[in-house]
């Protein structure tokens, strides 16, 4: 009964709980700064699950981009808002019904997709050091999508600078 697979399950449930608690904090807390910290906790749990799935590269990139960049940016934006020190605002605004509808719809679609897909579990074995392969694929097979994404990000960057200058 006490095998490494059992330990993997324990680790998975702990990480899933961290992710869900973090997400719950992010949407329910009144204090916006604490809500953002809840989001960080949630990102952390997701990174942990990637580690558990032996996708170290994705896990690290999750931490660098979602925590190191996006969460820090969110916190920065919150710090620049007025009334930060005494903020106990409501977490709902006039659009909550539309947002709830879209949220439920997205959940239904994802749930449907997840339960109807045949997951090829046995075929998905990782083979050796994947990072050099990932790098090579990005500049050969997937060069066009890669460059398209780069162009999109560059356009977003230029757009942000233009807006900031006005």
């Amino acid at each position: 009964m006490l095998t490494s697979q059992f330990l993997t399950y324990v680790a998975f449930f702990v990480l899933a709980a961290i992710t869900l608690i973090g997400g719950f904090m992010a949407v329910t807390l009144r204090n916006i700064f604490r809500a953002a910290l809840g989001l960080v906790l949630s990102f952390m749990g997701v990174a942990g699950i990637y580690f558990l799935l032996e996708a170290e590269f994705v896990a690290i990139v999750q931490i660098i981009i979602y925590i190191g960049a996006i969460a820090v940016l969110i916190l920065f934006a919150i710090m620049l808002t007025r009334g930060l020190m005494s903020s106990a605002t409501t977490s709902l605004n006039g659009q909550w019904m539309g947002a709830a509808f879209i949220g439920v719809l997205m959940f239904a679609i994802l749930f449907f997709v997840v339960i109807t897909t045949q997951w090829p579990l046995a075929a998905a074995q990782t083979v050796g050091d994947l990072i050099p392969k990932l790098g090579a694929e990005l500049v050969t097979t997937y060069l066009l999508p890669f460059e398209a994404v780069s162009l999109l990000l560059l356009a977003a960057l230029v757009g942000a600078i233009v807006i900031a200058r006005e």
Binding site: T3, N31, R34, I63, I64, I67
Partner: protein
């Protein structure tokens, strides 16, 4: 010499064998035994690394005071123990018995967690550092990325301190710290890329092994990368001349203005931990890590790292603080272009003179 060189790996193997014998005696499956032994060994190595880190910080506090004293033509601490060596212990005791003050309007939970979040990533970064031949606690094939990612978490701790204290100086200090950290992360990461290109790997263990012929700092591109890395690393860990987040003459003490007692102690610890980490990473990436003749590998590693640390302390005592605008300009208009050109240069050199 060989015995000294393998001292720590032999201790590790002995404990590992002992645990295997001990836990194997309970009649569990081989799978379960290996899982439990791996978990216990992980805990033991983690504890050893943490204790080593705390020991290092104690020596750094002493060293910082002594170096500062030498530069300023003083004697430095010399009352507690021989050459004042016990001084850091006295400091720690003082830190422990001080009153822990939390401002009335502070966000208690955030205020409490901030020093923990600031310290934890610094400890995590130790996991991939090869302290000697075969002495990396974990050899991740993405070791470089691991260090970058965990050091980006520490930023959030500074933010939490700035917000949770409910104090405008702390808030300003936190903002400055984060703006500085994200600006200097860019050149710091870009300047590692030439090293990854040269070594063909992101594992710190492999990068050290590839430097057995020549340390990367002795190559022209490696030297540029090293200088850029060292400058941005000093900025990343908020040391003078980049200590604007805690500029005493402007914003009291920055993000830890409202901290006292052991919570302040944790920030102090985190600061020295981070400083030590960036010096170990610089040693690993540019100075050949544990490579070196005659002495045991781990001793070489420590000697190189402490050399970089003393250099950092010397710079701290010599150069005055930057202004905010100079700081940002320096990162974006000097360091980033240099490291981008360096990447292209390295790639071209590798294509034209590929020796394998």
């Amino acid at each position: 010499m060989d015995i000294l060189n393998k001292l720590f790996t032999n201790i590790y193997d002995a404990i590992n064998a002992f645990l295997n014998g001990l836990i194997g005696g309970f009649g569990l499956t081989a799978d379960a035994v290996s899982a439990i032994v791996a978990a216990v060994m992980g805990l033991l190595v983690g504890t050893a690394v943490l204790l080593f880190g705390v020991g290092v910080v104690l020596t750094l506090i002493w060293l910082e005071r002594k170096v500062a004293a030498r530069v300023q033509d003083r004697v430095g601490p010399n009352r507690v123990g021989p050459f004042g060596l016990i001084q850091p212990v006295a400091d720690t005791v003082k830190m422990f018995i001080k009153e822990d003050i939390v401002p009335t309007n502070a966000d208690g939970l955030v205020h409490l967690l901030a020093p923990v979040i600031a310290l934890a990533p610094a400890v995590l970064a130790f996991v991939v550092v090869p302290f000697g031949q075969g002495m990396a606690p974990a050899d991740l094939n993405i070791g470089v990325l691991w260090i970058i990612s965990v050091s980006s978490i520490g930023t959030i701790g500074l933010f939490m301190a700035g917000y949770g204290s409910n104090n405008k100086f702390a808030l300003l200090g936190g903002m400055r710290a984060v703006a500085q950290a994200i600006s200097y992360e860019v050149p710091q990461v870009l300047t590692i890329v030439p090293i990854i290109l040269l070594a063909g790997s992101m594992s710190l263990v492999t990068i050290v092994q590839k430097q057995s012929a020549i340390w990367y700092v002795f190559l022209p591109v490696g030297l540029i990368a090293f200088v850029v890395y060292y400058i941005s690393a000093l900025a990343e860990v908020n040391r003078t001349p980049f200590d604007l987040p805690e500029g005493e003459s402007e914003i009291v003490a920055g993000h830890h203005t409202e901290y006292s007692g052991m919570k302040f102690g944790l920030f102090y610890l985190a600061e020295y931990f981070n400083f030590f980490i960036v010096c170990t990473v610089a040693t690993t990436l540019f100075l050949g890590g544990w490579q070196g003749p005659f002495l045991p590998s781990w001793l070489w590693f420590i000697l190189k790292t402490y050399g970089l640390i003393i250099l950092g302390m010397w710079i701290r005592m010599t150069i005055p603080r930057f202004r905010v605008d100079q700081l940002m300009k320096f990162a974006w208009q000097v360091l980033v272009p240099i490291s981008l050109v360096n990447i292209i240069l390295t790639a071209l050199l590798l294509v034209f003179f590929k020796t394998g």
